[in-house]
């Protein structure tokens, strides 16, 4: 892949190599619960974002973003679920840690980083405010597809985004993502009230 050429160019300038850090993680970390050791292997985008401290060259970013876009599986039919269930998913920060049971449903941790319903005062600011998201951006098919895709794999839209790839990583199910789309877009959702 062309991207590998980019990496080779900068690898030598860094004091501690990304590959060496991976070796340290393999040596000093151990699997626990559902957190298995394959989790420390970096994929191409993690490698690139680490290497370029989240500011990859535009051409490389574009290339890897298009790879990520291909991972998104858009379900047939409506992408809009139930905003009430979406609110509960947005509130929950559980899932995917070594202390979470493997088969228990995960949350989206949305409020950790985003403002959504105006009623919830305890929201984070790592991501942008999504207050009135549907009101500001409409709720037609285009925006539905964008919202679904962004939640499924945020890196397809912004390579080094801090937002997890919630669908791609298997954290959220198709139905859960639809419910979050509803929380964002449904005119009845508190987000748009």
């Amino acid at each position: 892949m062309r991207a590998m050429l980019f990496f080779a160019a900068v690898v030598l300038s860094s004091p501690v190599l990304s590959q060496d850090v991976t070796e340290v993680l393999k040596r000093d970390f151990h699997a626990r619960g559902q957190a298995t050791m394959d989790r420390v292997d970096q994929d191409a985008l993690q490698f690139a974002c680490t290497k370029f401290t989240d500011k990859p060259p535009a051409e490389l970013a574009k290339l890897l973003e298009s790879d990520q876009m291909k991972t998104i599986v858009f379900p047939a039919g409506s992408l809009v679920g139930d905003w009430k269930r979406g609110e509960a998913i947005a509130q929950s920060g559980r899932g995917a840690t070594w202390s979470d049971p493997k088969n228990a449903p995960a949350g989206g941790s949305c409020y950790n980083c985003h403002q959504l319903s105006p009623q919830e005062a305890s929201y984070g600011t790592i991501g942008p405010s999504l207050l009135r998201f549907g009101k500001l951006r409409g709720n037609g098919p285009e925006i539905q597809k964008y919202a679904y895709g962004k939640i499924y794999n945020a890196k397809a839209y912004n390579l080094c985004s801090q937002m997890p790839r919630l669908g791609y990583s298997g954290t959220l199910t198709e139905q859960q993502i639809k419910d979050l789309v509803a929380l964002l877009l449904d005119p009845e959702s508190p987000v748009n009230k």
């Binding site: 920060g93 559980r94 899932g95 941790s109 305890s122």
Partner: protein, 142 residues
């Protein structure tokens, strides 16, 4: 200022303490603030600016909410703390004798955002103050 650190003797090795006045089971087991007050013998109370509650308006964690109470009502004999939304609202009651200021600071648990009421007793009457404390959802979840 001095600090004295003394490890208490293990329970059981102690000489028996003076028999303590009975813990007011009925009041502490009451499930509503109204029942708790009734069991404390408080039929009515008057809002008073002389009862001061110092507490944060927002608590990052409901497991520890510091509350500092001062009664400036002359001859205050007791102070009761009622957390309205807790499963058992009465949290504490302190009786003060001559030589103790009607003042206490204590950490309490709030199950959820709640009104906290304080009742001070003086001259057979009750004086009250209240404060709404919000408990926020903290941290990274999980």
């Amino acid at each position: 200022m001095t600090v004295q650190a003394v490890a208490a003797l293990a329970a059981g090795l102690l000489l028996p303490l003076r028999a303590l006045a009975a813990w007011n089971k009925e009041a502490f087991q009451a499930k509503t603030a109204a029942d708790a007050l009734k069991n404390l013998g408080i039929a009515s109370s008057a809002e008073s600016k002389d009862v001061l509650i110092e507490a944060p308006q927002i608590a990052e964690n409901g497991a520890v909410v510091p509350i500092e109470i001062t009664s400036n009502v002359p001859n205050t004999k007791s102070i009761a703390i009622v957390i309205e939304k807790n499963p058992f609202p009465l949290a504490a009651k302190f009786d003060f004798s001559e030589g103790a200021a009607p003042y206490v600071k204590v950490n309490v648990k709030l199950g959820e955002s709640s009104l906290v009421r304080v009742l001070a007793e003086a001259g057979g009457k009750f004086y009250s103050a209240s404060k709404e404390i919000k408990v926020t959802i903290g941290g990274c979840g999980g």
